[in-house]
């Protein structure tokens, strides 16, 4: 094989960029909705005729949590695989475009249904609220499209392994495949629910739906979904950041091991979103709580690896003392600074997650604004800031331009604005959530109840934070457009770290997919078989659909 180019092939770059464009358009529209939400909730405005608060919230959830994340991830992984394994072969390349087209058709269809107010069921679409069948069909297409994109990556990886017999796959590509395997296994749950429950029911082919089963299938998907967001950020932290800071990857095998653990433990844990639900026994809830705690381990390993890598590279540059290496980090480099703020925010974010998952402690926070505050730290800060940080070099790399000093400065300001805005918005959400303010609720004082009146100052703080965040989004859009269309031509590096020499050889078992998928399946069966059989055997008569908006 010819020597690998360090620049992503032009053709692959276009495919990747197509995904990023859609992703960033989703960010802009989603952010407008988010800003309006904070204004409505604080009582500052009422929406102009026709638009409902819950319609906006549905759009916000779908555009940011599903569309932005998935498109960005697929685009990033395609680019990274092309960079580390070489130009995509024809079939996997075509699958990439086919996936893009199917996904986009689904996104457009679902968005139209939301705009027509035919799908105001929020992005979790809990039955028996019933949207138009086309809303669910759009979601199905979206998921199927992402599968096709995943098959493209699997195919590329498969061919590479055949051509490079006996060689260890590049770390980036291994991790990309792990992310897409996780996604495939996770989305099976929601696909089964949408195809066999929601679509026939919303068309009226069947009268009723099994509500608890649909919720269980949703959350079978809903938790690994958050790891699907997180793993690409971890890829950047493990593989890209070391190169940017002039260090080495701490350990290839531990990095791979942590990704294997994510596949194993991030799926059989969905009950931690259903802890307060009737119809599921406390025993099985608790089993899944324990499994949830297991999935914290690979994140702890990641935290260790990262800080070890920071310290080692700092010392190599001559840092002394316990914390001297902190000064050696490239704070002025947005490619480092944005993801680093994401890592930092993950400390309180992860702590909040442990609280949410702690069985009965969940009663304190479930469905309050605390939870909304929590995931604006996890996905909307840790993951989002890392994705923004990736974009600052990935977009110019793919469009044949460079990240200028000026854009780098703007990107650093963006990061600071985002962090400050989120501090206010998420901080207020966490606090007022503990006082009991519910999430997913339009402006209300509950008949001027003193408790609810006491929440308003916090909701105003949310609006202040939301405004700062919105300004940050506008700045982000400026940077993205500049990097995509106007920045000076040149070659921006696609940073890929090398493994530290001291690190030991990676055991081949880590790349044994059959083994890990089998173990993952066993854990899923262990966690779900009995409670789901229980659910089916003791299920109440089903529910008819309701359109209540």
């Amino acid at each position: 094989m010819s020597k690998l180019s360090t620049v992503v092939d032009r053709r692959d770059a276009k495919l990747s960029m197509a995904h990023l464009y859609v992703g960033y358009v989703a960010v802009l529209i989603g952010a407008i909705a988010g800003l309006l939400q904070t204004f409505v909730r604080s009582g500052a405005i009422t929406l102009p005729a026709g638009i409902g608060y819950y319609q906006l919230l549905t759009a916000h959830g779908i555009l940011l949590a599903l569309v932005f994340t998935t498109y960005f991830i697929v685009g990033f992984l395609y680019a990274g695989m092309s960079r580390t394994m070489g130009r995509f072969y024809d079939l996997p390349y075509r699958l990439g475009w086919l996936g893009f087209i199917i996904m986009t058709a689904g996104t457009v269809l679902t968005t139209i249904m939301v705009l027509l107010n035919e799908g105001t069921v929020l992005y979790t679409f809990y039955a028996p609220l019933k949207a138009s069948p086309w809303f669910y069909i759009g979601l199905t297409l979206f998921i199927v499209g992402s599968w096709v994109a995943g098959f493209g990556m699997f195919r590329q990886y498969f061919i590479w392994r055949r051509v490079n017999k006996g060689k260890l796959s590049p770390l980036f590509s291994f991790m990309a495949i792990m992310t897409m395997v996780l996604w495939l296994v996770a989305t099976l749950g929601v696909a089964v629910s949408v195809i066999f429950q929601f679509i026939p029911w919303s068309f009226g082919w069947v009268d009723t739906i099994n509500v608890l089963l649909s919720r269980t299938l949703f959350w079978y998907f809903g938790h690994p979904l958050v790891y699907f967001w997180l793993l690409p950020a971890y890829i950047a932290w493990y593989v890209v950041i070391p190169k940017i800071i002039g260090g080495k990857i701490f350990s290839d095998s531990l990095a791979r091991l942590s990704f294997v653990l994510f596949l194993l433990f991030s799926i059989p844990v969905g009950f931690h979103h259903q802890l307060l639900e009737s119809g599921i026994s406390p025993f099985w809830k608790y089993i899944q709580v324990v499994l949830t705690f297991m999935v914290i381990i690979p994140s702890l390993m990641t935290a260790f690896s990262l800080f070890a890598m920071f310290e080692l590279s700092g010392r190599e540059k001559g840092a002394r003392g316990l914390f001297g290496w902190v000064k050696k980090l490239p704070w002025g480099d947005a490619r480092f600074f944005a993801p680093f703020m994401g890592m930092l925010i993950f400390i309180p974010a992860g702590t909040g997650g442990i609280i949410n998952a702690s069985n009965q402690l969940n009663q304190m926070v479930h469905n309050t604004l605390w939870v909304t505050g929590h995931f604006h730290l996890t996905v909307a800060s840790t993951v989002a800031l890392t994705f923004f940080g990736i974009s600052y070099w990935l977009i110019p790399h793919l469009t044949g331009r460079t990240l200028t000093k000026r854009m780098n400065l703007f990107a650093n300001i963006q990061t600071i604005l985002w962090t400050v805005g989120m501090f206010f918005m998420s901080g207020a959400m966490h606090t007022v959530g503990l006082f009991g303010a519910p999430r997913r609720t339009a402006y209300t004082t509950y008949g001027d109840h003193p408790d609810a009146l006491g929440w308003i100052p916090y909701e105003v703080t949310m609006a202040v934070g939301g405004t700062i965040l919105f300004i940050a989004v506008l700045l982000l859009m400026y940077i993205v457009v500049n990097l995509a269309f106007f920045a000076p031509k040149g070659v921006e590096e696609f940073p890929i770290g090398e493994v530290a020499e001291a690190a030991e050889r990676t055991p081949a078992v880590l790349e044994n997919w059959r083994l890990w998928i089998a173990v993952s399946a066993c854990l899923i069966l262990l966690a779900y078989t009995i409670p789901v059989i229980d659910m089916l055997e003791h299920s109440p008569p089903g529910s008819t659909g309701f359109k209540l908006w």
Binding site: Y54, T120, L122, Y126, P128, L129, L212, R215, L254, L257, L276, E277, S278, G279, I280, S281, P282, Y286, V289, F293, I296, I297, L300, M301, F304, A308, I354, S358, N359, Q360, N362, Q363, M364, H366, N367, T368, G436, P438, R439, R440, T441, A442, Y443, T444, Y446, G447, H449, D451, A452, E504, H538, S539, P540, P541, G542, S543, T544, F546, L548, W549
Partner: protein, 155 residues
């Protein structure tokens, strides 16, 4: 696979803490009965009004300072929409939904439970402090979700 010694220490300490959390929550759940609301009884969601005890919702005294509150939840209200009890009473709530999924949350207490249609949910709470407790639905249930509220008056 070799791990660095400090990594082993880091993982041992942090996982030790997690193990502690698990043991405490497990002990509270199974030994002290403090687990999250998980009642398993079912009901036909189309026939709530005809099914006991929901054919007669309301507050019933079941003992000294002990009450059962049988309540239905439907868009966008609770039935009954106000209950009154003396301070120091324990109330056992028996809840079900007549339509979509609702949430039952009493601000200022630990009461927080999901009430999906087809199931009877149960949760108990002792009300020591007098006051007007705000009860709200915390699961999106439609356009009037923010109006779904009731009061518990503790005298």
């Amino acid at each position: 696979m070799k791990m660095h010694r400090s990594e082993i220490i880091w993982l041992t300490i942090s996982f030790g803490m997690l193990l502690g959390f698990m043991l405490i929550t497990g002990y509270q759940t199974f030994a002290l009965g403090m687990g999250p609301p998980s009642n398993q009884e079912t009901i036909d969601p189309q026939k709530v009004d005809q099914t006991a005890p929901f054919d007669n919702p309301g507050l019933k005294k079941v003992g000294e300072k002990e009450y059962e509150a049988v309540m239905t939840m439907q868009i966008f209200s609770f039935n009954p929409n106000e209950i009154e009890i003396p301070a120091g009473s324990t109330v056992h709530f028996t809840l079900t939904s007549k339509d979509v999924v609702h949430g039952f949350q009493v601000v200022g207490t630990n009461i927080n439970a999901m009430v999906p249609p087809g199931y009877i949910q149960k949760i108990s709470q002792k009300f020591d402090k007098p006051g007007e407790y705000l009860v709200l639905c915390n699961e999106y249930c439609g356009a009037g979700h923010q109006a779904m509220t009731m009061k518990i008056i503790v005298k």
